[in-house]
Amino acid sequence: MQKNTSIKITSKKLNIQECYDFVQDVSCGGIALFVGTVRNQTQDKAVTLLDFSTYQSMAIKEMQKIADRALTDFHILKIAIHHAEGKLHIGDIPVIIAVSSPHRKAAFAACQFAIDTLKETVPIWKKEYFADGEVWVNAHP
């Protein structure tokens, strides 16, 4: 299934067109994309920047598992899952997921499955910086 999946963690800017171009195919009728963006606030506190750190080798494996499972469980053609690491500013893109399918419902379902699962299982951590300090997101239940 490898050639139908594109998995990447990078400190460069993520590129929507690159994800689109990877999944686009003459036999697909629709492409669903999810693009995460850095918000200017969290729980009413102004965010200045985010810093993403990863357990990169394991994160790549977990992202690959999500992509492979999406291909198995949904009627889709290709999937790209790209994640950023390092410092991101307001409006920057931490994550892009793109899914192509002959049928749009499958593309949407697989795209939602992928982002939901990524947020649960992939070893990536986000530190939020505010004017008066910083906090590891989700670290304190």
Binding site: F52, M58, I115, P123, W125, K126, N138
Partner: protein, 80 residues
């Protein structure tokens, strides 16, 4: 036997390091290791929810460790 510990996210800040080598008893389980770590690193007691990955795969509490295993302490993830 020797294992390697890896620390990520908030645990890296708490422990003050990204990795450490550690001597543990043969056939120790992940659960046994957790107990050991909570004794050794008191600062982890304020922070008991973390998962364990061995050689880049999540494992459960009764998983038995081998020599040279790379054991990652995984605090709640927040990617995406």
């Amino acid at each position: 036997m020797k294992i390697t510990l890896l620390f990520f996210g908030i645990l890296k800040d708490i422990i003050g390091d990204t990795s450490k080598e550690l001597q543990v008893t043969e056939s120790i389980t992940v659960d046994g290791l957790k107990t050991h770590l909570l004794q050794k690193y008191k600062e982890l007691n304020n922070f008991s929810t973390f998962s364990i990955a061995v050689n880049e795969e999540y494992v459960t509490a009764n998983y038995i460790l081998n020599t040279n295993d790379v054991v990652a302490l995984i605090p709640p993830v927040s990617g995406g």
